[in-house]
């Protein structure tokens, strides 16, 4: 798994972005849910409007019809008309109908139906319809006919004739739907003729057709308006959501960036520790101190804790290096102790044999040699055990490495074959004590790896780059690359920290001297440690002081 990718995907900033976006879309979805509700509301409004318009049209139709009926109530001639007659009264009534229907756009037609009917159930009827409907032929003019009525209309006219009043229940059923005379709203009203001596005398029924085209047009306009309103609101909602979304996401982006910046910086600084070299630690610590917490309590706490750790870790490391050096020397001394004792015994035996006098001869030479060897061991130990001042200078690493070789190989079984090759070396820039320790660490580690009849070797030579190359090899079991790399990274698996930190410390010292340490398996078994130090830089070359 790519850690960097994961970091980007799961970072607090991205999560906040995703959550903010999801919240906004959820809100937008809720807002969009209002659109179906809006549709329902508009539909309800349309229904109510249609109903109120229909009611208004019916009231208007009733009013117009009533006004006509009031006018008909003064037609005293109506009481004298008969089916057979063809008098001036008939013509006068027909002319009146023509005037009413022709000059009033809203009145589509009028029928004056006498309540009294003949033996065949027919009623004397004066009628005239304007008939603007294209499917109907125009009526030539007002007519006087005997007309039969059927179904509900017949019931309604009979009801009006009996009770002399409108029956809305029947009237609505008669009025519903298109009519044979065209599509119109029909109103039926009783006609009373007013006489001074007899009062209101019932004559018959007035059937008045009211034009509904105007209402249909209004309904159509209203329907179109509602569609427009619906689209406009939809567009406005989408537009407002889009704009508010862009604004919200922009603001959220800047806010989230601002809020998460300290944590992101702290995270990056902390993460840089993973790839940092020991010499970069101070720089890392400095970077950590420079992280601007912007007053965020969480960041401040983490920063302080990391600073404390960062301050403590170098001291612990130094203690660890010091401890490892002593442990390494202790191990060397422990391994060479039998040899020292044997040499001590040999020295005592030779001294007794020779007495205190000045003697010469082979015994005396042996004594001198033993004494020199013991002195050399102590001299080597004193050089390494002491805590020399960490002085950096142009040095020759050969003496130090030779001391390390001598100390590391003390007490090796005689079956172990030892190889040493010290070529003349150019000077390098560094700390002699640390580089000697690095060699000792490698050699001590290699001694631990060498089998009873194995081989151990050291080769010090000039590297191709002009620096110094120290090669330590050891025979033994075949080693894998991972195992070799594991020696250099003893804390790679915190659960399994290996016993010796020698290679890792040697690598750290090499790195401190801008060099490197590589470990690789040997083809014939065992491993090869190769430590390279860079040549002197031009600035480190000796030069004459300028006066």
């Amino acid at each position: 798994m790519n850690t960097s990718e994961n970091f980007i995907r799961y970072s607090l900033r991205n999560r906040l972005f995703v959550l903010a976006g999801a919240t906004f879309f959820l809100c937008a979805l809720v807002i969009l849910l209002f659109f179906p509700l809006l549709n329902l509301t508009l539909e309800g409004l349309q229904n109510r409007t249609i109903n109120s318009m229909q009611a208004a049209a019916e009231v208007e139709a009733t009013t117009i019809s009533r006004l006509l009926v009031l006018e008909f109530s003064s037609l005293k001639g109506l009481l004298k008309v008969t089916p057979a007659s063809n008098t001036e009264t008939d013509q006068w009534i027909k002319d009146l109908l023509w005037e009413k229907v022709t000059f009033n756009e809203i009145i589509e037609g009028v029928e004056l139906i006498q309540g009294q009917k003949d033996a065949e159930g027919r009623h004397l009827t004066y009628l005239f319809y304007r008939r603007e409907a294209p499917e109907l032929k125009p009526m030539p003019g007002p007519q006087k006919i005997m007309k039969s009525f059927q179904g509900l209309e017949k019931d309604l006219i009979n009801s009006i004739t009996t009770q002399q009043r409108v029956d809305n229940t029947i009237q609505e059923s008669v009025n519903r739907g298109p009519k044979a005379e065209g599509e119109m709203l029909l109103r039926y009203m009783p006609v009373h003729v007013l006489l001074a001596d007899e009062g209101a005398v019932f004559w018959g029924v007035a059937k008045i057709g009211i034009d509904t085209n105007r209402m249909r047009q209004l309904l159509l306009i209203q329907s179109q308006e509602q569609t427009n309103i619906r689209w406009n609101i939809w567009v406005e909602m989408i537009l407002s959501l889009f704009i508010s979304g862009v604004l919200a996401m922009s603001l959220i982006y800047f806010w989230v960036r601002h809020i998460t910046e300290p944590l992101r910086t702290l995270s990056m600084v902390t993460g840089a520790l993973q790839g940092a070299k020991p010499e970069d630690f101070d720089l890392w610590l400095e970077n950590l101190k420079r992280v601007d917490a912007q007053g965020q309590a969480e960041v401040v706490v983490i920063q302080k804790v990391l600073e404390r750790l960062g301050t403590a870790v170098p001291k612990l490391g130094q203690r660890l290096i010091d401890g490892e050096a002593r442990a390494c020397l202790g191990k060397v001394i422990a391994r060479g102790l039998p040899v020292f004792q044997a040499r001590q015994a040999q020295l005592q035996a030779l001294e007794q044999e020779l007495g205190h006098g000045e003697a010469t001869g082979p015994a005396h030479q042996t004594l001198t040699l033993v004494r020199a060897r013991i002195d050399m061991v102590f001299d080597d130990l004193s050089h390494l055990w002491s805590d020399p001042k960490d002085q950096w200078d142009r040095i020759d690493v050969t003496p130090g490495l030779q001391r390390a070789w001598r100390l590391a190989t003390i007490g090796l079984p005689a079956e172990v074959t030892q190889h040493q090759e010290f070529a003349p070396l150019p000077p390098v820039w560094g700390s002699e004590a640390k580089l000697t320790l690095a060699g000792l660490y490698l050699l001590a580690f290699a001694v631990d790896l060498v089998p009873p009849a194995g081989e151990l070797g050291i080769k010090v030579e000039t590297s191709p780059a002009g620096g110094v190359r120290l090669t330590v090899w050891v025979s033994g079991n075949p080693r894998s690359d991972a195992e070799c790399q594991g020696w250099l990274n003893p804390f790679g698996d915190p659960g399994r920290i290996q016993g010796s930190l020698g290679p890792a410390l040697a690598a750290a010292i090499a790195s401190q001297h801008r060099g490197s340490l590589t470990v690789a398996p040997r083809e014939s078994g065992g491993a090869v440690f190769s430590l390279e130090l860079p040549p002197l830089a031009a600035s480190q070359e000796p030069h004459e002081p300028v006066i």
Partner: protein, 456 residues
């Protein structure tokens, strides 16, 4: 250990929050919209006597009900010239909502009621019929079975007073002869035969109107068991029992002409208005059929006093009233009711507010105070039972107790058809003036009415 139960407390807390939220929503404008509709006034047919009484009550009673009358109720003035045309027939037959409340003569109540144009008052709690004198309540009730489906008669108008034609008689003379007022025509004739020869000042035994004689004739006709229309408003005069009753009643009147009543030749002198009560006041007749409201007129004449011929009335105690006699053996005596009543236009009742306003209006114009004032100042007989108990006007009480409160008294409106009334009036005139026999007169009337098949 018992774990404390927190649920009830949490529920209460939640409930409290909900209540607060609801209250806050109200503050935010989510509550019911304020009722901004102006108070609606209902329309009524304007009449002068009612207006005068309202004015008097507003002055006397100082009641806001009467003082704010014009603000709450809008009167529609009906020109007198229009009244003969029955103008409201046009409006009501076409379901006009105006006027909401109408003052209607009793026959019009019958016509409008049967047509279904009037709102039933008892069932909708606008007015309780039991508050009215039963005989007058019956006259203002109609059967609405064909409209509402409910059996029995429904009260459709509230009369403000009781008016009907009754028999006036000389109480002092009958007392003198120790005679009781007649219940039948035979008794009346007997009284006349006994008294008239001895009382020389009396020119007539009985006087009835010479014009609009039909109003006086109807109670007589009904007393003979006849009817022009049945309860459903159908014309039934041509039915044999009714036709026979008509002829018998007419013959009874004609039989009295010349002896008890004025003969055909003398009828003309009673054509002028007021001549009938003048004749009674001047002591010319023992009996008189006239409207009950003439009691007040007689009182006014008596109060005027001086300058009248000898034998004229000098005191109310000389006047007696009784129901118009009936045929012997008939269980009821009748009065042609002349009261007006307030009715509610059925088509104006579009919501309960109209009903409430109509109830308030009728409560004002037909209320106890209103009727008591009318009784004391105009001599009108209240139609409310509780008002009658408080009336102090003796003449009013006399009229009520001796006529309308009689157990056998039935108040009935004349037929509402002006055409029928006109035709019958004409034939009555023909018969009483001796130009036609009663039988021929009836046959002529039936023939004329039959011509109009659509007559209502």
């Amino acid at each position: 250990m018992v774990t404390p139960r927190l649920r009830p407390a949490a529920t209460v807390s939640r409930l409290t929050r909900v209540v607060w939220a609801v209250l806050l929503l109200q503050l935010l404008g989510c509550g019911p919209s304020p009722d901004t509709s102006p108070p609606r006034a209902i329309t009524y047919t304007f009449d002068a006597p009612t207006r005068e009484l309202i004015r008097l009550l507003a002055e006397k009673a100082k009641s806001s009900v009467y003082q704010d009358f014009d603000r709450n109720f809008k009167g529609i003035l009906v020109p007198e010239s229009l009244l003969p045309y029955e103008p409201f027939v046009l409006g009501l037959s076409t379901e006009s909502k105006i006027p909401a409340v109408l003052l209607l003569d009793a026959p019009w109540v019958q016509r409008y009621g049967v047509a279904g144009w009037l709102h039933e008052l008892g069932r909708t709690d606008i007015f309780d019929r039991s508050e009215l004198v039963p005989s007058v309540a019956e006259a203002f009730s109609v059967s609405l079975t064909h409209i509402t489906g409910q059996k029995g008669k429904q009260l459709v108008a509230v009369p403000t007073y009781i008016k009907g034609n009754i028999l006036f008689y000389r109480q002092d003379i009958l007392k003198r002869y120790n005679l009781a007022p007649p219940r039948t025509w035979e008794e009346l004739r007997a009284i006349c035969r006994k008294v008239l020869p001895q009382e020389k000042s009396l020119k007539y035994g009985l006087l009835i109107h010479s014009t609009n004689v039909l109003n006086d004739f109807y109670p007589i006709f009904w007393g003979f068991g006849g009817q022009v229309n049945n309860d459903d408003g159908q014309f039934v005069l041509s039915d044999k029992p009714n036709a026979e009753a008509f002829v018998a009643a007419l013959k009874a009147l004609i039989a009295m002409q010349g002896s008890i009543m004025p003969g055909p030749g003398a009828l003309k002198q009673f054509d002028p208005g007021g001549s009938l009560r003048q004749a009674f006041f001047q002591g010319q007749t023992l009996f008189m059929i006239n409207w009950s409201t003439r009691m007040k007129d007689l009182g006014d004449l008596i109060a005027k006093g001086g300058g009248q011929p000898p034998g004229s009335l000098t005191s109310f105690s000389q006047v007696g009233v009784a129901p118009i006699p009936a045929q012997a053996g008939h269980p009821h005596r009748y009065s042609n009711i002349g009261s007006f009543g307030w009715a509610v236009n059925r088509f104006s009742v579009t919501d309960p507010v109209v009903i409430e306003h109509a109830k308030q209006f009728i409560g004002v114009v037909a209320g106890e105070q209103f009727q008591l004032l009318a009784a004391e100042t105009m001599g009108q007989v209240p139609s409310l039972v509780r008002a009658l108990k408080k009336v102090t006007n003796k003449e009013v009480l006399q009229v009520y107790n001796d006529t309308f409160a009689q157990k056998d008294m039935v108040m009935r409106p004349r037929p509402h058809s002006r055409r029928i009334n006109n035709v019958l009036e004409k034939v009555l005139d023909e018969a009483l003036n001796g130009r036609q026999t009663p039988e021929a007169a009836l046959a002529g009337a039936l023939a004329e009415l039959k011509k109009d098949q659509t007559s209502d």
